[in-house]
């Protein structure tokens, strides 16, 4: 087969036309995409969960403890900050405090609406002062044990 210069010219012209069409079409495609932005992002619906707890004797305005501690003085107010995530129209957060081999000290439940990260604090105090020894706080979410932390009063 004989290759003529004319056919080569035609091929080049066709290629140029196709490229020009492509160049023209690209912005149009981009424009079309901009008319259909991605769907608005909505917070993911997740089951509520406890993501952390902290003990301390002082609380900040965001319900977190000023300084994480594990040893307290007999006259301290003892705080536990419970960090949660997830969504729930009614989540019961409980702090169960015990002494020594499990002697009950206090149990408090707070029922909240969870719609993302939140911090719930519980605190206990004893006017006559805490007996020295080992203590434990157990955090429950809707009755299920989530976290425990041990601390000492000296």
């Amino acid at each position: 087969m004989r290759f003529t210069p004319r056919s080569s010219e035609v091929a080049v012209s066709l290629l140029a036309v196709l490229c020009a069409a492509a160049v023209l079409a690209l912005p149009a495609c981009g424009k079309k995409d901009s008319k259909n932005p991605p769907a608005a992002q909505t917070p993911a619906v997740t089951a509520p969960r406890v993501v952390g707890i902290e003990l301390g004797n002082e609380l900040k305005s965001d319900n977190r403890v000023a300084e994480a501690m594990s040893t307290f003085a007999v006259n301290d107010v003892i705080y536990v900050a419970v960090m949660t995530e997830g969504n729930s129209p009614s989540a019961a957060v409980t702090a169960r405090w015990t002494y020594g081999d499990g002697q009950p000290v206090n149990e408090t439940t707070r029922t909240v609406v969870l719609s993302g990260p939140a911090t719930t604090e519980f605190h206990i105090s004893k006017p006559g002062g805490w007996p020295t020894g080992a203590y434990k706080v157990e955090i429950l979410l809707n009755g299920a044990s989530m976290r425990t932390a041990q601390f000492e009063v000296r």
């Binding site: 319900n63 002697q103 105090s125």
Partner: protein, 95 residues
């Protein structure tokens, strides 16, 4: 009560412990209280010959002395408690 590990050592008393809590999450609304049961339908009684309020009271309440309760509930139709008429429909308040 004594400490199980050391029977001589009394267990501490935590009855005076004070507690509280707060949250950055808003409190959950209280569950709606159970709806009140609908009031029982009011009974009626049609007077027959020989009836009087004491008799009707005994019939419905088990004792004749509560006739005034029926009289009070029917003051719009009974002027004299000694005069009721056959065919008269009386409201009988619930016990």
């Amino acid at each position: 009560m004594a400490d199980p590990k050391d029977p001589k050592k009394p267990r501490p008393d935590f009855s005076d412990v004070q507690s509280g809590s707060s949250s950055t999450a808003r409190p959950a609304p209280l569950p709606p209280s159970a709806p009140l049961p609908p009031p029982a339908a009011e009974r009626t009684y049609t007077v027959v010959a020989g009836d009087n309020l004491s008799k009707i009271s005994k019939k419905f309440y088990g004792e004749s002395k509560r006739w005034r309760r029926i009289f009070d509930a029917n003051k719009d139709t009974i002027e004299n408690p000694d005069l009721i008429y056959p065919g008269q429909v009386l409201k009988i308040p619930n016990d």
